[in-house]
């Protein structure tokens, strides 16, 4: 049975998707990897950009999202939080 993902799971999945792509990802790939609707992904992107965890850049007229240094550190912290959450069933 698949459970509904929490906010922390979604943010973790998004950051992991960017990290797995070497810290830079196309919006369409991110949409696919994070398994969200376009509307919800936009909300999460705004949240992450607001926190300066990711940035939007343009390379040869293509839009990418990149992990900032703060975002990379945050991703490591999130991995620990995810492990802690899973360990205690939170």
């Amino acid at each position: 049975m698949s459970e509904r993902r929490s906010k922390i799971d979604i943010i973790y999945d998004m950051l992991k998707a960017i990290n797995d792509k070497g810290g830079k990802i196309l919006p369409t790939h991110l949409l696919y990897k994070s398994n969200l609707s376009h509307k919800r992904m936009k909300e999460y992107l705004e949240h992450l950009m607001g926190k300066k965890l990711i940035e939007e850049i343009s390379v040869k007229d293509k839009k990418y999202f990149i992990l900032t240094e703060q975002g990379s550190k945050f991703f490591v912290d999130y991995m620990k939080i995810k492990e802690f959450t899973d360990a205690f069933g939170l």
Binding site: I81, E83, F84, A87, G89
Partner: protein
Amino acid sequence: MSYSVGMVALQGPNWFFGIDSVFELIGTITLLLIFLASYKAYKITDMKRYKYYSIAFLVLMIGHLSRTITNFAIHQNWFPIEELKNIFILGYGAHIVFTLAALVLLVSFAFEVKQKKSFCILLLLILSMLFISSSFYLAFYWAAFVMFGFIAWYLIQNARTKKIVTPKLVAVAFVFLTFTQLMFLGSSILPELYMGAHISQLLGFLILFIAMVKVQAR
């Protein structure tokens, strides 16, 4: 040696007193680690579940520390003999109240009791039953056994759904902590169980400590 003051009894061989305080200190450090990890998660995510979880482990740690300090103070003869009863009542009273409050919070959390009123009624019921009980000591460890048992059962169900090792470690640790309560309960009849309870508790906290190290090593 059987050392009894009022409502509480400490059982066990003389040579073991002092060692039990060291064992308990390891438990306190482990509980502190869980509190810090949960509090950090709350500061990063701003999610209330981490806030309540950190509060529960902070309260549990305070309860544990109360017993550690009380036992140590008594074994080290910090206080005159006539003061011992009050020290015992104060230290163990704090231990009982804080531990039960933390366990009620953890049980409420595991079984998604979200209303604060339900939490208050549950805690009030348990504490009032304890006060009217003829033996604080036995009633407390029985209540702790039941609640640790429910938490362990919840954590076993959680571990079964996860592929990683840390949930399994946490579940096993809580099984040890559940049996610890039963052994403390039995130590009033069979004093040897006092040592067994401390060893079981130490194993539980050491396993939890390993789980926390694995979480931080990610």
